[in-house]
């Protein structure tokens, strides 16, 4: 297990390096120039050139990439030449907002999704199961921004129950500001997780050892608790591991619509400004988190089910 974990960890580091190098390569050919974008219409050519040099954009691409990773080894993501602030400060200032948003979204949607999934599986084939199926599938692919939009129009603007924008300050205020965005992101996951849990529960319920347990006279509730749920939750863990990337995507939209601070909003605005150091810093951190989440979920699954370890 330790060997497996180490191997997986090193691989993850490699993945991040490849991903960031790919991105740098791509950004390099994107039209638009940070110096012109951010310095505004009135920057002199000399100033633009100075800025480009300060950002290291005058150097050949491989040098830029190597330097970038060299700095990272020292825990330095570089400096935003326009505000003079450290990129790591800017990124880590925004990151908690996104992480909290994602965590809350996952939490409520998993709880509801697992409950709904179990219920559907135990009542498989009834009209209640069909209804919950339609509801959960129907919400899966409503884009997060549509959900966010409806949520803000109904609950913030029309009813005035909840705040429409920002992240709030203090615990209570922040929590109030979280409700609508977390709802918008989480709703599609309820369906996903419910479907997943339902499917694997049905599978496990048909498995020999469960049937045996049943024949021994164990009550249905105990079987569900003891055997089925633990195994059925596995795919949900896998799903969440691979789903973190999707959650970050959804956070991009939700942060834009709710004018929330966060890493998604930061990426969008820095892409528009072509502020490469911030894009790279923010994407690096995001990618690292996604890879880490995948890693953790794979390790969890491997811990629960040793057979999975071979499928590296």
């Amino acid at each position: 297990m330790i060997y497996y974990a180490t191997q997986r960890f090193l691989l993850s580091v490699l993945i991040v390096i490849v991903a960031i190098s790919l991105l740098t390569l791509m950004l390099h050919v994107v039209p638009g120039d940070p110096a012109t974008m951010i310095l505004g219409p009135r920057a002199t050519p000399e100033l633009i050139e100075q800025t480009r040099v300060a950002m290291g954009l005058d150097q050949p691409l491989p040098v830029q990439i190597v330097k970038f990773f060299g700095r990272i080894l020292h825990g330095d993501l570089g400096t935003d030449v326009f505000t003079g602030r450290a990129v790591s400060d800017i990124v880590f200032e925004q990151l908690p907002y996104t992480l909290v948003l994602i965590a809350v979204s996952i939490l409520w949607s998993s709880v509801l999704g697992i409950v709904l999934g179990c219920y559907s599986a135990l009542r498989a084939g009834t009209w209640l199961d069909t209804l919950s199926g339609i509801l959960s599938v129907g919400t899966i692919s409503i884009p997060a921004f549509v959900m966010a939009l409806y949520a803000v129009l109904i609950f913030a603007v029309s009813l005035g129950w909840l705040p429409a924008i920002g992240a709030g300050e203090g615990f209570f205020d922040s929590a109030m500001h979280l409700i609508l965005p977390a709802f918008a992101i989480g709703i599609s996951w309820v369906g996903y997780i419910a479907r997943m849990v339902r499917a694997s529960m049905l599978e496990v319920m048909g498995a020999p050892h469960v049937r045996m347990a049943r024949s021994f006279g164990l009550t249905e509730a105990r079987i569900v608790r003891a055997y089925i749920l633990r195994i059925a939750v596995q795919p949900a863990v896998t799903l969440l591991g691979t789903g973190v990337a999707h959650l970050f995507s959804a956070a991009v939209f939700v942060e834009v619509i709710f004018a929330r601070p966060g890493i998604g909003a930061l990426i969008v605005s820095s892409v528009n400004e072509r502020n490469y150091p911030i894009i790279l810093g923010a994407v690096l951190v995001t990618t690292a988190i996604i890879v880490l989440a995948t890693l953790l979920s794979d390790l969890t699954v491997a811990l629960l089910d040793p057979r999975q370890r071979e499928a590296l």
Partner: protein, 293 residues
């Protein structure tokens, strides 16, 4: 995964009747089948269903609510929303078909190369797949769109590239497990070439399950298109797409709620249709397939 030996060779009469029988016995499967047929029909026959050109401006008052003239009302340029929704359906099906087709073929090639090729190439490709998957799709999309400029082609490109790793990985696993399967080894020993093994044994085994997976990815593709359009990076105006309708509707939600409804309902229907159909097909052919995802 190695258990997935249920041979799914493409349409033979028995397969079709098996599908139909399977669907008939499955409530959600029937719903899905009907929805998909309706959506495809609407996309194919769009120009004959609606009397308006989806790009024609000022066909009526702007931001009008539904009426007998305009079944879903009009948008901010006075274009008929119903015909724009239909045209958007064509775009959606085109994007889904083209990008999933491209992702499948590319994923098939890369997956086979990774699965049957030398070890180092396998590792390299795996690394690349994982790297691509570790970006949030939309971040990758932003980068690609700023690179090539927004258009229908770009949307297809983004979706194709982000989907390749998923398919390639599945095919790789399949190919590897088959490579070591006894009957394949036996054939190899008897001197059968790689191409024969590929076409006779590997492809038929993976194609069916992959197609089912792809059909379940259709909603995801459409949501990606809508998302890119929402960030102003979708298809080129005046082309209609559900994402564009949503985006315009979002901008003018104060003026009329209808465009947002007109844009989001088809997305929900497509999701329901393809997911239910895909799940039903999966149940019919291979109840264990979900493990591969």
């Amino acid at each position: 995964m190695s258990q997935a030996q249920a041979t799914v060779s493409l349409p033979e009469p028995t397969v079709i009747s098996r599908i139909l029988r399977g669907l008939a016995g499955n409530r959600t499967g029937t719903i899905g089948f009907v929805l998909v047929v309706l959506i495809l029909a609407a996309a194919i026959f769009a120009p004959w269903i609606s009397q308006y050109d989806p790009a024609a401006i000022m066909t009526g008052p702007r931001m009008a609510p539904p009426s007998s003239d305009h079944w879903l009302g009009t948008d901010n340029l006075g274009r008929d929303l119903f015909s724009r929704v239909l045209a958007g359906g064509r775009v959606a099906m085109l994007v889904a078909g083209a990008s999933l087709g491209a992702a499948l073929s590319l994923g098939l090639v890369l997956g086979l190369v990774a699965g049957l090729g030398p070890r180092w190439l396998d590792n390299l490709l795996l690394l690349l797949f994982d790297a691509l998957r570790s970006f949030p799709t939309i971040v990758f999309g932003l980068a690609v769109v700023t690179l090539v400029g927004p258009s229908l082609f770009t949307v297809i490109l983004v979706v194709a590239i982000t989907s390749v790793p998923i398919y390639a990985r599945i095919i790789r696993t399949q190919a590897q497990s088959l490579r070591n399967a006894e009957f394949v080894m036996a054939e190899r020993a008897m001197g059968a070439g790689l191409p024969r093994i590929l076409f006779v044994h590997v492809l038929p085994n993976v194609l069916g399950p992959l197609l089912i997976l792809a059909s379940m990815d259709v909603p995801l593709v459409i949501a990606t298109e809508a998302g890119l359009s929402f960030l102003g990076m979708g298809v080129r105006p005046p082309t209609s797409s559900w994402g564009v309708i949503l985006n315009d509707g979002y901008n003018f939600i104060r003026n009329s709620p209808w465009p947002v409804i007109a844009g989001s309902v088809p997305i929900v229907l497509v999701t329901l249709g393809f997911t239910f159909l895909g799940e039903a097909l999966r149940d019919i052919f291979d109840p264990r397939l979900q493990k591969a995802n």
